[in-house]
């Protein structure tokens, strides 16, 4: 699963630490999600999307591998 968090975060002028604070998770979690090492739950994905002012389906994309 790919995501556009880094782009949206830059558009909102937010640092990883600020986003982590808003979503109430550790900064390492945001780093891991951005780099694709950790896939958030639906609730966390909605929270991140809400804090970045976008929709979850605009922020996260399924890849071909996810269907296998």
């Amino acid at each position: 699963m790919k995501n556009q968090i880094k782009v949206e975060r830059a558009r909102n002028n937010l640092t990883q630490a600020e986003l982590a604070l808003k979503v109430q998770v550790a900064r390492q979690t945001i780093i891991a999600i951005e780099s694709g090492r950790f896939f958030p739950s639906a609730v966390l994905a909605f929270k991140i999307a809400h804090c970045l002012g976008s929709r979850p389906d605009e922020l996260f994309f399924l890849e071909d591998e996810d269907w296998k």
Partner: protein, 135 residues
């Protein structure tokens, strides 16, 4: 989300360290007085201590930490079971020559202590591996 599966507070980790130390002191005392290595006594201290350490919240607790802990616990339970089974199979079934004829099987306390040691090591290793700075 919002609720955590790890319900002990962060400070309980300190209590865990204290319980491990008590178990260790008790184990050494028993050896000093009777000359017996009572690994069950050590295992009991380790069990209570590591239960407090592993199942208490981290400074910042979120779903990624929970997932790391769950993965570590899964691997630890399976690997400890295999180790225990191998130990019991080799030492209790095979007719090995030994000085004392009594070899005890691994107790439940020892099994739990080994599992929790492996789980804690795996968890803190995985946590250390997480990137700390923006990539």
């Amino acid at each position: 989300m919002g609720k955590t599966y790890f319900f002990y507070s962060y400070w309980v980790k300190g209590l865990g360290v204290l319980l491990i130390l008590i178990g260790l002191i008790s184990f050494l005392n028993r050896y000093r007085k009777n000359g017996v290595f009572d690994f069950n006594e050590l295992a009991i201290g380790l069990c209570f201590g590591l239960l407090c350490i592993f199942f208490s919240k981290e400074k910042t607790d979120d779903e990624m930490i929970e997932q790391l802990k769950f993965r570590a616990l899964t691997k630890a339970v399976i690997s400890t079971f295999l180790l225990t089974h191998l130990y019991n199979y080799i030492f209790l079934n095979w007719r090995l020559k030994r000085e004392n004829d009594i070899i005890l099987s691994i107790s439940a306390y020892q099994y739990l202590a080994i599992s929790l040691i492996i789980a804690s090591c795996l968890f803190y290793f995985q946590k250390m591996q997480l990137p700390k700075h923006e990539e």
